[in-house]
Symmetry: C2
Subunit: 447 residues, 2 copies
């Protein structure tokens, strides 16, 4: 009873959970709505004069105190390394795998979206506060747009889209026999014994069906959600705060909830931090290093990626990846092509197939029964979102409008990087997947 009260939160909260914001309420400012109005192009970092001049005017500085707030986020999400410690994901010295261009004019393509509205793509990209938007069709680059000072070489914060990369690493370790998905977390990380993670299986953590006492009440200054933010410099702790500064202290301190593991999907970012820890404990390598060796040095990417660290050098596996849109598109294309890209088999085919499979909506719908979920058909498995839409697409998703959307029927990959004022928005999480299905259908009708 208490559980359902707890978890039958407002649409907003549930959308927040879908898109992975653990600080969603805190990060959504009323001022943002106007900027995202369909009638006007959103403000940009340059139009606002953010971080311009030596020094910038006091009210134009992006700092650790305001960087998660719109409009400061318009600058910050392209410059996380200038605000936080970061770890390199080096591309190596191999040549770049070119993205062959085959431009298709999608600017004026029109879509019906909820609320009896019709939008064209160009308008929707502005309305959803886009920084970068790329469409690959059959491996060719049919549409590529940058806004707000972005260029093809700009690295952008991916937030919870990071989780899908971490899930992929764990799936590789399972495929290689280094991790047994049926074993419990405490089998690999004894420090987790007694915590909410201890007796959860690896598969339950991958699917976020663990039973965790993770308090997401933003009105409670003692809530776990704030403490997670303090660990990674997302939010500044109050003076005299004595809670965990290390993710390795924070995670074992999260207790179990009353329900059973496996009973229901409940989105909680620390699940992914535990997966990052698991992969590092098993391999002896950081998540960055694993991504570098398995993917970044194989994929023919254009640029290094990087991971957001806290001041102890610990990676924010739950949401700290920064990469270019074009490199995210290469990654999506590699998944679509069953792990093949750049002339080589980068991931085991079985891992790519696993990622591309539809999720089971049953545990998902136990707590998340919003009408929009029904319409879009969101479900979750192995740290990837799936959609119960005609093409059974899958996606990595991060707050404020980050997506790597893979449509296996249309052979289409869409990457969107954004700095929407709201962590989760109708424009991104609801209109977005409907528009991408329509783009897919349009491209399939193309010669």
């Amino acid at each position: 009873m208490q559980q359902s009260t707890n978890h039958r939160r407002s649409n907003r909260r549930r959308l927040a959970a879908v898109t992975g914001s653990i600080l969603a309420a805190a990060l959504s400012l009323p001022g943002g709505a106007a900027a995202a109005s369909p009638d006007s192009a959103p403000v940009t970092a340059a139009s606002l004069g953010l971080m311009q001049g030596f020094p910038p005017p006091a009210d134009k500085r992006v700092t650790r105190d305001n960087f998660m707030e719109y409009p400061y986020s318009r600058w910050a999400f392209q410059h996380i390394r200038e605000l936080q410690p970061t770890r390199d994901i080096f591309r190596g010295e191999g040549s770049v795998a070119p993205l062959a261009p085959r431009p298709v004019d999608l600017d004026t393509l029109k879509f019906d979206v909820p609320g009896d509205r019709q939008l064209d793509l160009k308008t929707w990209l502005a309305e959803s506060v886009t920084d970068a938007f790329l469409v690959l069709h059959r491996g060719e680059l049919v549409y590529e747009r940058y806004f707000n000072g972005m260029a093809r070489t700009s690295q952008h914060q991916m937030f919870s889209a990071t989780k899908s990369f971490v899930g992929m690493l764990v799936l590789c370790l399972i495929e290689e026999g280094a991790i047994d998905p049926g074993k419990t977390l405490q089998d690999y990380i004894p420090e987790l014994k007694g915590s909410g993670f201890g007796d959860a299986t690896v598969q339950q953590v991958l699917n976020m069906t663990t039973s965790l006492a993770f308090n997401e009440d933003y009105t409670d200054p003692e809530a776990d959600v704030w403490k997670y933010g303090y660990v990674f410099g997302i939010a500044t702790p109050p003076a005299g705060y004595t809670g965990a500064s290390s993710i390795y202290e924070f995670l074992p301190a999260l207790g179990p909830a009353e329900r059973a593991h496996g009973e229901a999907f409940l989105y909680a970012t620390p699940n992914t931090d535990v997966l990052g820890w698991l992969s590092s404990r098993v391999t002896g390598k950081s998540v960055s290093r694993q991504l570098q060796e398995r993917v970044w040095q194989q994929l023919g990417v254009e640029r290094d990626g990087y991971m957001w660290l806290n001041e102890l050098g610990e990676e924010m596996a739950g949401g700290g990846l920064n990469i270019t849109a074009a490199d995210a598109a290469r990654f999506g294309q590699m998944i679509l092509h069953k792990g093949q890209y750049n002339g080589r088999q980068i991931l085991p085919e079985a891992v790519a197939r696993r990622i591309l499979q539809a999720g089971n909506p049953e545990p998902f719908n136990r707590y998340y029964n919003d009408i929009w979920y029904e319409q879009i058909g969101y479900a979750y498995h192995d740290q990837w979102w799936t959609f119960n839409n005609p093409h059974k697409a899958v996606s990595a998703i991060g707050v404020h409008g980050q997506f790597i959307y893979i449509d296996p029927v249309a052979e289409m990959v869409i990457v969107k990087q954004s700095s929407h004022p709201e962590a989760e928005s109708m424009a991104n999480e609801v209109d977005g997947p409907l528009i991408w299905q329509a783009i897919a259908e349009h491209l399939m009708g193309q010669p």
Copy 2:
């Protein structure tokens, strides 16, 4: 009278000044001496287990509190971006300018060094706690060694060798007519009016002959030298500290000293921060962006570089550059070749010629009359060190053993990156230049 008392410091202090440490005394730990003993190879980050494991043991963590201290520095100087905010210096997408190998066995080459000792190169590299050591002769790579986990692609903190890059940028702007070296700083930066920099000329700042009230007394917790450290996270301010957190507040607050500008050389890092500010005020671009556009995207470097930032996104122009040894060697070779490299004229020839000219030792020796200076013949101009040695070499120099040494007679460039426990050491600042002169003579005798 007071001046000469102030400035006739111990050899240690003067060497500290030469090598650019503004926190030299604070950063040199007694424990380091043993590690640098000639009888044993120095400890490495790996042999100490620093930052290994998830999490690393508490006593093996490198943090903002210990990263400047040996042996933590052995890990930290290759991982500044994992500890501090940083700004990218993007290499662009051009191809790499290869360093043609022509190996010469220098390992067992023997040198006489002060103290009636004879060393071979291999022993000296260990004794001086080297991370990377490269020798180019006539543009070919004759010797290349990495230690302590370094690889050719590892970026290393350059400390005050950064100053020579900033000096080069200002010389370019002078050559292009954007800056008049005879004008005063307040002509370009009105905020500096009334400060110790205000009525100094650009050339005096370049040559560090300004008269600044810059207190380097490490025993005084109120000393300016500490306050500079607090601005950039080199040291942690005491609780309740209310001093400048921005370099743009710190610099205008430095007052004038009693002597006249131009009277004498006195090494003070903030001179370079003012030059960085000047170049940014004139161009509208950060130092990183200027280096990226003028050099990094032209030189055929292998890797991006980066600059250490404070939490306000301000660059440590006085000492925050991180680059690979091989890319530092390309830069040195470009200066040696009168600004040409990678098939193009990268800098105006006049700028390279200016850098390669000998400094005037007269203002230098006004306060720095140490016997070692006489022996090595150190002088300074335009943010570059010069040596009154037979080949009239010039060098970028940073604390703890960073050098880009350019010998125009032998057509030789030497790059050394180190994590010596002492900010300034006999092994690096005294033995080093003597050994490099001997290497030059050896290479000139080669076929």
